[in-house]
Amino acid sequence: MSISEYFQLLTNDYTLRTITLGTAVLGAICGMLGSFAVLRKQSLLGDAISHAALPGIAIAFLITGAKDTNILLLGALVSGLIGTFWIKGMTTKTHLKSDTALGLVLSLFFGFGMLLLTFIQKQPNANQAGLDKYLFGQAATLVESDVNLMIIVTSIALFIMVLFWKEFKLLLFDADYTKTLGFNTRFIDILITFFIVLAIVLGLQTVGVVLMSAMLLAPAAAARQWTNKLSVMVFLAAIFGAFSGVFGTAISASQNNLSTGPVIVLVASVFVLVSFIFSPGRGLLFRELRFRRNRNDLQLKKTLQLMFGIAQTHENISHPHAIKILNNFQGFTKKSLREMEEKEWITLNKQEWAMTEKGFNEAENLFNKQLEVNE
């Protein structure tokens, strides 16, 4: 099945529609909440939380013996939250820096989770097959009830975000100041973190514990490139996330059921790459172009300044001078002289140049103009 066939099937295939809707919603909520994580400089927290969720899934299975998604995700939620509190506790109560705490919790929980998974696989229970899908995700396992749960959680998160928008923004920008204004920063902090954990847990089935953090970070990092407004950034991140989810799932489903997680993450990375290069304000390409144009411009103005000095020695500013006398000056080339002629700053005649009225005025005002730019 090719991707275009996949999208054609979408209109009449119920299962595909469910899966597509699910991954779109998941991408949206992850992009939305991921923006907060990125702006709080907690990018790696998501990685630690998703890895910390693995033992919860295994333990939930061991206790119930059944592979009910909701129960497994509940287990993931509990152990994800425990991991989060451990990280916060470690950073506030000990001298450990947050990257150390994150790394410790991540590897400890993930190691324990893998241990439990291998233990489960040795059990004489036919039911265990498929638990390892939680490592890299398999969108094809999504059913309607899973998607409904995603929609409900996303709606609640959206509602809370709109309700506390002002408080979230304030905390993200300046936490100390938020406290002095009388807001309970602990409450806002817990609210944001709780929804981030919730979004991660929801994504485990589709994207898997190993790569879930990219789902949070990639859309947000891409969105930041295109805007200087928080609301637009959150909105764009949701859109990018949704597209990554849909296209990633489409590719993975049409190519022999590849693990969905890696494919979604690769699609999201394409968004990041394109944004980093092509965004008009912050993109590398336009920055480089602006840089070159400015440098070229400055070079011309330096040459003009030199000519201005020479022209001033004559009563008639347009008196022709030999190009040779510029030779000691490194900043001029034939090309730059031609560009200056195009700007009508000078006129060229064989081996001589002469300054025009326009060029003289330009040079005279150079210094003043520079001041204006700096203002």
Binding site: L39, K41, H95, L163, F164, W165, K166, E167, K169, L170, L172, F173, D174, D176, Y177, K179, T180, L181, G182, F183, R224, T227, N228, K229, L230, V232, M233
Partner: protein, 245 residues
């Protein structure tokens, strides 16, 4: 005439780990003074402000603002943090940052409206930044960022202003603009407390000073206590400084 007491700090002690950062600070600041807190690096100047404002929990001690506990008087107090304490690449504009100053009086959930916007624009105008209102904050210079922070505090319309090193890394124009606004605030009966590093400008800018080095060394009018003796006690070296009489 006896001045009202704006800020009273009793027995304030703060420790991060084992070493005390502030030790048993008693401090009384009268209303309508412009006070500098001076002391060497690590003397606890910022910590003093932050623990008065409840950002840091002290081990012991109490703070009262106009005779009542700080918790009940928050609306009377505005804070200008160090410029470097936030990420200026945050996606927002100058006017948006100033508007944050109105969030406290709005309380939870309520959004700022026309009234708040108008007040914020006025504050921006006061600090000479009105033409930059829609500028992304990362594109402002250090001095302009500091002015935006000051405007955010002005919009709170408080009685007491705490400022953490407002002159750090700003040019002379901004420094003069800021100090003029602070002097205006004092004239309007407000109390301003500033963590300050440049000893040369203390007599010129301030009328009240607190010397701090973990313990409080001295506090009082600049004219009476800003002398070599207190400077030596605070900085541990014989610090000669020209005092404008």
């Amino acid at each position: 005439m006896k001045q009202k007491i704006a800020i009273q700090v009793d027995d304030l002690t703060v420790a991060y780990n084992y070493k005390p950062v502030l030790w048993d600070i008693d401090l009384v600041v009268p209303e309508a003074v412009l006070m500098a807190i001076v002391g060497p690096n690590g003397a606890g100047k910022s910590t003093l402000i932050k623990s008065i404002l409840g950002i840091i929990d002290p081990i012991a001690g109490s703070v009262s603002i106009y005779g009542k506990p700080y918790d009940k008087q928050r609306k009377l107090v505005a804070y200008v943090p160090q410029k470097g304490s936030v990420d200026w690449d945050f996606p927002t504009t100058a006017i948006d940052v100033v508007m944050m100053g109105t969030y406290g009086s709005l309380g939870w959930i309520k959004r700022p409206g026309q009234k708040e916007k108008k007040a914020s624009l006025e504050a921006l105008e006061k600090v000479g930044m009105l033409s930059f209102k829609n500028r992304q904050i990362s594109q402002l210079s250090g001095g302009q960022q500091q002015r935006v922070f000051l405007a955010r505090a002005l919009v709170q319309n408080a009685a007491i202003y705490f400022m953490d090193e407002p002159f750090q890394g700003v040019d002379a124009t901004t420094e003069i603009a800021i100090i003029n606004i602070l002097k205006e605030l004092r004239k309007a009966g407000k109390t301003v407390v500033v963590v300050h590093h440049d000893l040369q400008t203390v007599p010129e800018y301030f009328d009240w000073v607190t010397f701090l080095n973990v313990k409080k060394i001295a506090t009082g009018p600049v004219k009476e206590i800003f002398n070599d003796d207190n400077l030596t006690k605070t900085y541990g070296i014989n610090y000669k400084v020209a005092v404008n009489k």
